[in-house]
């Protein structure tokens, strides 16, 4: 999947990318099992052709987009983002996609639209994990409309110059680099514009642990572990020191103003 260099500020970090092997074998994708090696082992069953994403809710032009239409909707860009998991590890991944804002502008949100909900595939036949009751399926995530419109929020179709591997959320996913990884919904089938904050999968499972915003923030700990540091996958093996976690995962200059005046401890 070829892309052109992105001109969006902050979209290309110079840090060393995680190896393709690590980025495609160490995944959280509960639809394929709870162990981090499960997605790579089980995701081959996922059927991604045909695929479409329906855009619904408070928009002027709702509709169903085929994967092909989405792929061609805007120029594919190369973006290298840090990825910080809420569990305390991180990677650097070269993604291919374009700003979600391109799609949003196309469907013209109505004045009342304040939030965007992402609903992902939950197919009991091809996704063995959906039979477990770990989460309330389908997996749903959400953003405030201004967060979704931010140019760093990526509608993603590929990584490492290829189309997305199934365990990484093929054929189309969201990547929000300043939030914990679970906010970036994989294998999305529906995008809905709403006036109310949408219920999200992890928030429903444990509201006091996983907030709606879930911005990467070293000063706001998870109730049961510290978020001050992270382990960069593939960096130095067993004896590597943990790194300090950066505010908004290092994207404060780009996204800080979205949260001006907000109490981030309360809106965690």
């Amino acid at each position: 999947l070829p892309g052109v260099a992105s001109k969006v500020p902050g979209a290309v970090t110079m840090e060393k990318a995680t190896s393709y092997e690590d980025a495609t074998s160490y995944n959280n994708f509960y639809e394929f099992g709870t162990d981090k090696s499960d997605p790579a082992r089980n995701a081959s069953t996922l059927k991604i052709d045909p695929w479409s994403v329906s855009v619904e809710g408070l928009v002027k032009k709702p509709g169903k987009f085929s994967l092909d239409e989405l792929l061609k909707l805007s120029a594919q860009e190369d973006r290298i983002y840090r990825l910080r998991c809420v569990e305390g590890w991180s990677m650097v991944i070269p993604w291919v996609g374009y700003s979600l804002a391109e799609l949003i502008k196309r469907v013209e949100p109505l004045g009342g639209a304040k939030y965007v909900e992402f609903v992902t595939l939950a197919d009991k036949v091809t996704m063995p994990g959906v039979n477990s009751r770990v989460l309330d399926w389908p997996y749903a995530e959400g953003l405030r409309l201004d967060e979704a419109m931010h140019p760093l929020t990526l509608l993603t179709f590929g990584m490492y110059g290829e189309v997305l591997p199934k365990q990484n959320g093929a054929p189309v996913r969201i990547v929000v680099p300043w939030k914990y990884g679970f906010k970036s919904a994989k294998s999305i089938v529906k995008i809905r514009f709403t006036d109310k904050e949408p219920a999200t999968a992890w928030n429903k499972a444990a509201a006091q642990e996983y907030g709606f915003y879930s911005n990467v923030n070293p000063e706001v700990d998870h109730p049961r572990w510290s978020q001050a540091t992270e382990r960069r996958i593939g960096e130095g093996g067993l004896f590597a020191k943990r790194r300090k976690t950066l505010m908004f995962n290092g994207y404060e200059a780009q996204v800080g103003q979205l949260y001006a005046g907000m109490d981030l401890k309360k809106n965690f």
Binding site: E21, D22, S25, Y26, T34, K36, S37, E87, W89, S132, V134, L135, A205, A206, E209, D221, H222, R224, W225, S226, R231, I233, G234, G237, L238, F239, A240, K241, R242
Partner: protein, 225 residues
């Protein structure tokens, strides 16, 4: 079967088998075979093996009684020492690879994650048992006190499963916790049931002492003791 268990080589063979998981992890760590997050893989595998050996050592007595194989008792101490060995390796690798041996960080982490406090306490109990596992320690402590101390393995079972449950709670992932929980509950449950049965058996003759003795009560006591 009994011949096999009493064989001279039985203990060295078991010792070697018990060391295999550790040897494999050591090799995998050296050969970079532990996957994308080697520290996490190592710490968790050592924890898993601690739980497995804990189940094994607690299974010795029920198996011995249920199958009528007294020879099994020979292996209990060694298995118990391996529980302590894997638990301490688990604790040390957490302190080293997760915390870089930084005492301040460990203290903060324990305050933040009580499941680590629970695990450390279980590790301490296991270390105490390991340190007093030789015959002279029984004499030095006195049999009663020694037995009391070594019964804390039951507390360790509870603490270990609580530690595991708490650790998995963050990601809502309880399938494996349920498996180990069920095994440990069965092994401890058998002991409770056995104790109740013995107490009842012990009470029975007193009742019979007042009434005229009927049947073969004495024989019943002999077999249940």
């Amino acid at each position: 079967m009994k011949k096999l268990l009493m064989h001279r080589a039985a203990k060295p063979v078991l010792f070697t088998v018990c060391l295999l998981p550790f040897a494999w992890l050591l090799y995998a760590a050296a050969a970079d075979q532990l996957g994308a997050n080697p520290a996490e893989a190592l710490i968790r595998s050592l924890g898993d093996w601690t739980l497995r050996f804990l189940c094994a050592v607690l299974a010795v007595t029920p198996l011995r009684v249920l199958t009528g194989t007294p020879a099994l008792a020979r292996f209990r101490r060694m298995l118990g020492l391996f529980v302590a060995f894997y638990a301490l390796a688990h604790l040390l690798s957490y302190a080293a690879f997760d915390m870089g041996f930084d005492a301040g960080d460990i203290a903060k982490d324990i305050a933040k994650r009580p499941f680590i406090l629970v695990g450390s306490f279980a590790g301490l109990l296991l270390a105490l048992m390991a340190a007093t596992s030789f015959n002279r320690a029984i004499k030095a402590l006195g049999a009663v006190r020694w037995r009391w101390l070594h019964r804390s393995v039951y507390a360790v079972a509870g603490l270990a499963i609580l530690h595991f449950y708490w650790m998995r709670a963050g990601k809502h992932n309880f399938a494996e916790v349920a498996v180990y929980g069920a095994i440990l509950a069965a092994l401890l449950g058998w002991r409770v049931w056995e104790a109740l049965r013995k107490r009842q058996a012990a009470r029975a003759p007193r009742r019979h002492a007042r009434a005229p003795i009927r049947g073969n009560t004495t024989k019943n006591i002999a077999t249940s003791a």
